[in-house]
């Protein structure tokens, strides 16, 4: 029994190793990008729109509304990044219904990469929205004493993001594997249904937390007083 799909090496040449996590991620990327390209091929702004277009419009409207409610002003600017995070994690977690599939989110390297992208994106958006000096000053609030704690919180919440997603997906797969050995009839089915729910909730949580961090970093001073 292996802990993560990192341990399964599909192909290696010299020191270059291609493990199952990377392979699954590439396949998922292909599905997402190809699917989006197919769906957006025939967009129209007329009255009659295709089914796929209305599906995409529902998704986009839902995301925009959710981000607005969490407190992100002007959510359309951040939609590409945040919605991509959600779609990738959600598809990666939902594909566990396919037999033999191992979610790439059940490996710490994938979730750490996703969390690192949040760690980088938050200051970038903050600087773009508020300017460098103004953004750096936010680390000195409420007092200068809080500077180290503000910096520590940046890293600790990145660690928390990564380990939370990894732990949830890995434990789901692990519980399923253990149940298959001790009670293989009905219980694995129930647990995999629960795993699908957990996967969706975790994708939502990851996305919403990234939204909250970006919202906190981009909030300008006149909005803070309101």
């Amino acid at each position: 029994m292996h802990l993560t799909s990192d341990d399964v090496v599909v192909w290696h040449y010299g020191f270059v190793k291609l493990n199952l996590t990377i392979l699954t991620t590439w396949v998922l990327m292909l599905i997402l990008v190809g699917g989006s390209a197919l769906m957006t091929r025939k967009l129209s702004d007329g009255i009659r729109i295709s089914r796929w277009q209305s599906f995409l419009e529902i998704l986009v409207t839902f995301f925009l509304q959710q981000f607005e409610e969490v407190g992100l002003p002007n959510p359309a600017r951040y939609l590409p990044y945040l919605a991509t995070l959600f779609l990738f994690i959600a598809i990666a977690n939902l594909c566990t219904v396919v037999p033999g599939y191992e979610p790439p989110t059940g490996s710490l390297s994938t979730t750490a990469a996703l969390a690192l992208s949040v760690l980088i994106a938050v200051p970038l958006y903050g600087i773009r929205e508020r300017g460098l000096g103004n953004f750096l000053q936010s680390y000195l609030k409420p007092t200068v004493i809080m500077l180290p704690f503000n910096i520590i919180s940046e890293f600790s919440r990145t660690l928390a993001l990564a380990v939370r997603l990894f732990g949830n997906m890995m434990s789901g797969a692990m519980i399923l594997a253990i149940l298959l050995t001790i009670a293989p009839l009905v219980f694995p089915l129930l647990m995999s249904i629960l795993g699908l729910l957990t996967g969706m909730v975790q994708a939502y949580i990851f996305c919403i937390l990234a939204t909250v961090y970006i919202a906190a970093a981009t909030r300008t001073r006149d909005e803070e007083t309101v």
Binding site: L3, Q66, E69, V163, R164, G167, M170, S171
Partner: protein
């Protein structure tokens, strides 16, 4: 006992204790969170969307504490670094 059995015994007992004890506090916390969310829902059904979303985010945050404990248990059982170290050195001699 030789060094290998000591590591095995310590890892197994610690793995069980970590998840066992580490799940108590998040369980209490989640219970309190859901109880107050239900109270708020009964008082203000109109705000159900906001309350439910905040509840889910909060529950995931609390739950991650239990997940950290589970990760440590899993590492101790399935990918124990001390065990691997001793095994590697025993194989070297």
């Amino acid at each position: 006992m030789d060094i290998l059995s000591i590591i095995a015994v310590a890892s197994i007992i610690t793995a069980g204790l970590t998840t066992g004890i580490g799940c108590i506090a998040p369980a209490l916390g989640e219970g309190r969170a859901i109880a107050s969310a239900l109270t708020s829902l009964a008082q203000q059904p109109d705000a159900s969307a906001t309350i439910t979303r905040t509840l889910f985010v909060g529950l995931a945050m609390i739950e991650s504490v239990a997940i950290y404990c589970l990760v440590i248990s899993m590492i101790l059982i399935f990918a124990n670094p001390f065990w691997n170290y001793v095994i590697a050195h025993a194989g070297g001699h």
